[in-house]
Symmetry: C2
Amino acid sequence: MKHNLIIADDHKMFLDGLLSILKTESNYNILFTAKHGGHVQKYITINTEEKIDLVITDVTMPEVDGITLNKWIKKASNSIKTLVVSMHNSPEIIDDLIENNVDGYLQKNAQKEEFLKAIETILSGEKYFSKEIKDIYLQNKFEKNKEKEIKLTKREVEVISLIAEEFTTQEIADKLFLSKHTIESYRKNLITKLNVRNLAGLTKYAIKKGYVS
Amino acid sequence: MKHNLIIADDHKMFLDGLLSILKTESNYNILFTAKHGGHVQKYITINTEEKIDLVITDVTMPEVDGITLNKWIKKASNSIKTLVVSMHNSPEIIDDLIENNVDGYLQKNAQKEEFLKAIETILSGEKYFSKEIKDIYLQNKFEKNKEKEIKLTKREVEVISLIAEEFTTQEIADKLFLSKHTIESYRKNLITKLNVRNLAGLTKYAIKKGYVS
DNA sequence: TATCAATTACGTATTAATACTTAATTTAAA
DNA sequence: TTTAAATTAAGTATTAATACGTAATTGATA
C-alpha cells in the first residue's frame, strides 16, 4: 500500500527537487503540497477520507512555520509523522522540534539517498536524525545542564564550609569579620540555591563537594 | 660498677629465692630488702648517699602495695628503675603500672633466666615485659577502646538518619508516631553522645556511617 | 526477679535558624 | 561604560533547635 505524503515549503525550487526525487519512488503518493503551514493545517482538518502518513515541512515559512506546524500536527494526530527540513541548524529549533516529538530532521543540503532513507525510516516507525543533528542536540543539552549546574561563589564556599564545620552564624561572622546579617543572607541564599531544606542539606552538599570531611 | 638493688616482698620464700639467684651474679648489690612498700619509701627518703638503681617489688603487700610504691618512686625519682613481680596478671594492675611508667613486669613463676634478663634489660635503660604481659595490656586497651566506641541504638540510628535527611523534629515525630519531646531527647542525646555541636555534626556522622547519602 | 539499657515523654528557658524583604557597594564582564 | 553578578548589610517575625533537668515505661538479661 502506498504512503500518503504532504509537503510544505515556500521555496519552489526545493519543492520541485523533492517532488522529482519522490516520483522515482513508486510507493509514495503526494497528497498535497503547500506554501506554508496554515494550508497543511486546513488540509488535515478538512480531509477525513485519506490517511495521512507523513508531512515533510520546511522550518521558515510565512504565516505558520514548521515548528508551529509540527507542534500542531502532533497535538492533532498521533499517526501523522513529521519530517522537518531546514537550511540551518539552530540548536533551539532542533530542541523545540525534538521536545515536540518530531520524527525526523534533515538539512536541505542532504543527498537524495539520505532523503529517501529518512522518509523510509520514519514511515517504518523510527526516528531519523543525522549524526550531526544528534550532536548539536546533545551539545545543547549539555550546555543547558551546565548552566543549570549550581555554581557557588568564593564567599559562598567559604561560608558553607564553616557552616558544615559546625560553626554558628555568629561565629562565622566573627571569623570572617562580617556582620551576622551577612552570614544569615549567605545561609538563606545557599539554602535556596542548593534547593535544600536546612543545615543538614547544606552539610551534605559541602561534604559531597569536599569542602569538609 | 655494681648496681644497687632494693627488693620488696612480704613472702619470705620468694624473697629468699630471688636473693639466691642474684647472689650468683657478682655485679648486683642488694642494698635493702623490705616486707612492704612503706619501708622502701622510708629507705629511699632517708638514704642520700647511695645511688639506687632498681627496686624489685611485689604487688600485693601490706600497708603500701607495689602499685602505690611504683607510683611513688616514679614521682620521687627519675633515675630509680622499677620491676614489679606478681602472681597474677590483672589487666587493670598491668595497665596502672604501665601508665605510671614501670620499667618491667614479671610473673612470679618466671624462670631464673628470665629474671636475670629482665633486670639486665631494665638496668640498660630498656623496658622489660614478657610477650604474655604485652598481649594482656594490649588486649585490655583494645577492649577499652571498644567500650569507648560509640554505639547507637536502633532508634537513634533511625532518628539521626531522618535528621540528616533534612526532616525537622516535628516531622520525624509524626513519621515515627512519637512525641516531639521524644525526638528532641534523641537529638540532644545524639549531640552529646557523638560529641558534636549541632545538626551539621549529626549530619556528618550519619554520612560517615552511611545512614544517608 | 532485680537491674540495666533502651525507649518514651514533659517542661522551661534561651539561642539559633529560617522566612521574607530590601538595598547599598564593590567588582567583573559584556 | 552600562549591565550584571557578587558581596555586604539590615529589619521583623516566626519557627526550630539547643540546653538542662527529670522521669515513667518497656524489654532484655543475668
